[in-house]
Symmetry: C2
Subunit: 259 residues, 2 copies
């Protein structure tokens, strides 16, 4: 059972008003209403309305975010879509597996289906912001689907999840950790772990995103995410203090050089 | 397990080159190649190629039929798509049920997925030529899907059927009855049953289509369909002979009036 009100569609770096209109229409077809454009490749979205046949309500309520993390900040779970199979060690879900997880997490808070731009889809860096990745299996001859058609397939599967009866009375679920909080945590972890020389300053992101995703997978509650964030704030002060405090005899960044 | 080579997409009275191109692309995405336009609403299909990204092979091999029965003539099974729920007593399948039947019948011969025109979809009369009907469940606010997006949903489900392993070694299947043969049978039945006063001459189609569909559901072999056809040819001659033969004392259409 998917909580349709918690379902969000995020179009990242969308370029074509036709695709935007078609996605709005198919959202209306399947009863979804929350659409976010993240870092759109154009703001000339006239023309979308013509194609959005009765999807106007979706377009009227649409919001725009400057970046993917900003678009995701209120969500507790996100699955990113790609047609690529080289995924830097991550394993892609099937559409059905992904929709089951969206439905599951929708009991904890807002969830997002993220679709990439027309020209290159989502990069590994962008997919790293998503809890999971899904691939729609396609032919080798033409693996790349049109954005609005991929949205149609996935939202159909979503709506089917929505029609499944809840298997049993769901236990009261604590509010899930928002990805915005987890992202703030992750940024704090980056800073502290760089200072503590755990992360390679040349390429900190890869490891950091793995840590971040492991936390997302843990189905943290919002309270737990805030606890972690507070903990890293304290760790950060302690690391800085350890280095910066004259009493400890360590000049700024000293441990790095003396260690 | 769907036999992809036996899968046919029929677009009836398509108007928009954009939709044609998008359907060709999504067919290529999912490894299907046989496309028939039936009674197209325009022949100005320039522009389709731009949208058919790598679906050119599909467009190159596309054929055109003057009517839906002509498009269906080589098929042993067809499912027509509609968003209407008023279906004159017929019960619509879910997309999953319909795709399972397509897969099943694809072991017997060519099968067709029929999609209607952009403006009004398929009429009841057109749906009557199809063995089954399917409805993609949509929201009451906007029940009508874009043609190319409906095709995407259904062809995705088809391709998933194609990836399912055959449950057991399929028994050798006799060649299924082609809808062209069944349609010829049906036309012969119309003629004979009108003469025999079984059908109402003001509205023969409704009953006739029911009889035709019951035969389609029976999974006739081609040989059986030809037997039926021959049988009705003989019946036709006998009915005409019975009426026309002076020796029986019956003038033309006499039994109608004397009976």
């Amino acid at each position: 059972m998917l909580a349709a009100d918690n379902m969000t569609v995020i179009l990242h770096q969308t370029r074509s008003p036709e695709n935007l209109g078609s996605v709005a229409r198919v959202m209306a077809n399947f009863g979804f209403s929350r659409l976010i454009l993240s870092d759109p490749a154009t703001y000339a979205f006239r023309g979308a309305e013509r194609l959005a046949v009765k999807g106007d309500a979706v377009l009227d309520a649409m919001s725009v975010a400057r970046s993917l993390p900003e678009a995701l900040k209120d969500c507790v779970y996100a699955v990113g879509t790609t047609s690529r199979t080289q995924l830097e060690g991550r394993t892609a879900l099937t559409p059905e597996e992904a929709m089951a997880r969206l439905a599951d997490h929708s009991q904890r808070g807002r969830v997002a289906l993220v679709l990439g731009g027309e020209q290159r889809g989502l990069s590994n860096e962008e997919l790293a912001f998503c809890t999971d990745i899904l691939v729609i299996p396609t032919s080798e001859v033409q693996p790349s689907m049109n954005l609005a058609q991929a949205a149609a397939v996935l939202l159909y599967l979503c709506s089917r999840e929505g029609r499944k009866p809840a298997e049993q009375a769901a236990p009261a679920v604590e509010e899930g950790a928002k990805m915005g909080t987890v992202h703030a945590l992750s940024e704090r972890m980056r800073q502290v772990m760089l200072e503590a020389q755990f992360l390679n300053p040349q390429a900190p992101d890869h490891i950091l995103r793995e840590l971040e995703r492991s936390l997302l997978r843990a189905r943290l509650t919002q309270r737990e995410a805030e606890l972690w964030l507070t903990a890293f704030k304290h760790l950060g002060r302690a690391v800085a203090g350890g280095k910066g405090t004259p009493g400890k005899g360590a000049p700024s960044r000293g441990p790095d050089r003396n260690g």
